[in-house]
Subunit: 480 residues, 2 copies
């Protein structure tokens, strides 16, 4: 039977003044186990003895012991007490030297921290609670079961071939994108695609058309590449191409979100699309089409991609699964004209190689086996309901004070207010009331042109949370 | 019984003038199998028939057939001959659709390179057949079982907190790196870290010290950032710091591989390390320490990181798990001085956000539960054996004609030959004999300075394959 020791015999060092009881007890016990002051197999005193003799609450003692047990330092069985694990995981003994007794902050950081809950109307996240984790997990296990050397070894710079096939088929069917798998490059997401595209197309000082207002991620990518950004105004028909031609006819590229303009929500008309393609073809320029949330369109016909109209190999099409499935997936793609493919792959190779093969393989299965289609259809219904809830709650609590954009698509919507304040001040005020509402001026390039509106995300919130959020906004505007 | 065809019936296209016999025969046979000109189950002619009717040597015919058999296109049994595999691997049939008949070069590139068996002495891949897939898969399932909203949702730009803790502890213990988890940024691998670092530190025209010869991935990252690359010679003591000071005292950064210089293998001496740190501190420059395969040191004491000696916050330390575990994992890290952290995170946010959370969580468990330590110890033994096999086979088959570097570390070694040819010619000749041997001149920045050596990878090859490879090299040099 293991030898028991009393709490008094526990070789713990005194608690430094600035350290919390929990941190101190955790770090001390762990260090004592690691450097052998607490021998393997030795039984610990009861939490009651702990709490009496070291002046910590039983709750703290239990918490710390539970943590150390989860980490493999301790073992316990109901009725038999808790003892130091006979077989410590190797790396725990390795970590011995790192665990300086003073490094309290370090030990504390070792405890995983829980993330904060999203606040309405945080705009960037989709709903993730309904994602079929079971399906994904099953597909993952299956891939690992059959994992060959090739799945572990070096991947293809352009991406895992079966995934590229699946994406090409999916885009052809659902987005009207014309491409062969050989034009697909798998990326980690939209930001990486924007960054690579800007670096590929822009030499410092080159002009680039940018939607105004427009997506700040694209603006940042262009700035980092040294582009001279040409703000081209956006209206209800999308980017004003004639204005762009007038401002910078020889721009090297144009960034657009034709399906659902970010942040205003308008859809680019066919006339504008054709005008844009004509310009690109005649100027030898490239259109970067960011198709960021077009999977979710709640009324009317889905708008086929601009890329599908292109006959001059002048469109790079960018999409991502990170909003459609879940943000931490980190898989997106570009559809690249043949003539640019070699240069794209070279830069890809020089900047990041390929995304994790196993995740690409699982995503390929998820698409090919129909889960993607099913999940999108399901989420489309749910997001449509939530948009209706947003409109209903806005009308109920705010009436004329807030007008939502009429566009029935996406995960976010623009909302315009009457109050005579600028949108950044509105955003700040909302934040102090527990509400996320991005001021549209954040996305504005010509700073003198103020837009009295904010961006509201509705996808990640249930109708009840949406209604409470709108109540708070109403209260805030009344105060004002 | 399978139908046999004679060599004359073989539907091979004529050989283009600029293609070697080996490349032509390999590409033709493979294409014929993939597009069905050579039906499954059909028996191939003997190598003797091949050599007579197509004017290739029997050696070449055998080499090509062996290669295609290793890749799963062909089957053979002693006495029964060779025939086209009845069941081609999945990915091969999948890639069929991609295989445009015209785009030979491209179609070839589309076939996932990982599927092809590595040729000795391919330098970049580790052994992956011994990776404990079962453990990794179990940890993955467990993470998915407990996956919370936070694991699916937006991640931390710096990386998943428990992984950062695990990395900080691991580096402290095993590499003598002094850091807190708050200095760790999780990346997809070394190339992404090099790219980000170069973009962060270099404005077009800024000087950067680069080891000469040195790692081409770093050279590419510096070139892409517009750096004026200053080649600083490397000798048995590592980078010649005095020479660097003389050439460009005000360089913005210096790239070094102090633990195991790439490609020569030398370890930077303490004197040089101190001189480099002094220079960086006085010039206000940053040292980028690429610690690429230092986990594997087979004799003597492991060399602690240069970063551990730094007292002026002037070192960015770069490492990766892609070689230590498996290449398609795509997880690495940077250790960043506090004063640079904000800028690093901003650029990270603007270029790629964070790596897949689930993979980060699984890796954290893999480290904390001791699997990483165990796996490294196991592979260290295996790689040490393989290096010995390489040395033994080289001595046996090549004697004085090839001298291996004496350094007992890493996954690759430099080898110097006596033959009076330049290293790129050596590389090409070896390739035509089925051997990968990167010419050291590839890594040379001052092109006039020729190095009669090649880089030989030994990690991914069993002693038998190593011996066969050395035999081929010996045969090649005899011919020569």
């Amino acid at each position: 039977m293991a030898k028991s020791i009393s709490s008094l015999e526990l070789p713990l060092r005194a608690r430094p003044a600035e350290t919390t009881l929990t941190d101190w007890l955790y770090a001390e016990l762990r260090a004592a186990i690691l450097d052998g002051r607490l021998k393997r197999g030795v039984r610990l005193p009861s939490t009651r003895d702990f709490s009496l003799q070291h002046g910590v609450s039983r709750g703290i003692a239990m918490l710390v012991i539970e943590q150390l047990r989860d980490e493999g330092y301790l073992m316990s069985r109901t009725g038999a007490g808790t003892w130091v694990n006979e077989k410590l995981p190797d790396d725990l003994s390795l970590s011995e030297q790192v665990c300086a007794p003073a490094g309290q902050g370090k030990a504390k950081a070792l405890l995983p921290t829980a993330r904060e809950r999203l606040r309405p109307f945080q705009a960037s996240d989709p709903e993730v609670n309904l994602f079929p984790i079971d399906v994904w997990s099953r597909l993952t296990s299956r891939q690992w079961r059959h994992a060959t050397k090739s799945l572990l070894g070096s991947g293809d710079i352009a991406g895992y071939a079966p995934l590229r096939n699946a994406i090409a088929e999916y885009l052809g069917t659902s987005r009207g994108v014309q491409c062969s798998p050989s034009q697909i490059v798998v990326m980690t997401g939209t930001q990486q695609s924007l960054d690579l595209t800007a670096r590929l197309l822009i030499r410092p000082g080159d002009a680039a058309w940018m939607e105004d207002p427009g997506y700040s991620g694209a603006t940042r990518a262009l700035r980092n590449a040294g582009a001279k950004i040409i703000p081209v105004p956006v209206d209800a028909e999308g980017m004003n191409v004639a204005k762009g031609r007038q401002l910078a006819p020889q721009a090297k590229m144009a960034y657009v979100t034709p399906a659902h303009q970010f942040p205003l929500g308008s859809t680019m008309t066919l006339e504008r699309r054709i005008a844009l393609l004509r310009w690109a073809s005649s100027a030898g320029s490239i259109i970067v089409e960011d198709d960021y949330d077009s999977e979710f369109r709640f009324t009317g016909v889905p708008i086929p991609a601009l890329q599908g109209l292109d006959e001059a190999e002048s469109v790079i099409f960018i999409g991502s699964f990170n909003k459609v499935l879940f943000p931490s997936l980190r898989l997106g793609y570009m559809v690249v004209p043949d003539r640019l493919m070699d240069r794209v792959l070279r830069l890809r190779f020089e900047t990041d190689l390929w995304p994790t093969s196993i995740n690409q393989a699982v995503l390929a299965d998820f698409i090919v086996e129909g889960h993607l289609g099913r999940y999108i259809r399901r989420m489309r219904e749910i997001y449509a309901e939530r948009l209706i809830a947003l409109q209903y709650s806005a009308a109920k609590h705010l009436g004329d004070a807030l007008r939502l954009s009429g566009i029935q698509a996406g995960l976010t919507t623009a909302a315009f207010y009457r109050a005579p304040i600028d949108s950044i001040a509105f955003e700040r005020m909302a934040a102090s009331h527990g509400i996320d509402a991005s001021g549209l001026d954040r996305y504005s390039l010509r700073k003198q042109k103020k837009i009295p509106g904010v961006l509201l995300g509705f996808a990640a919130f249930e109708p009840r949370a949406i209604d409470r959020g709108m109540q708070k906004l109403a209260a805030m505007l009344e105060e004002y």
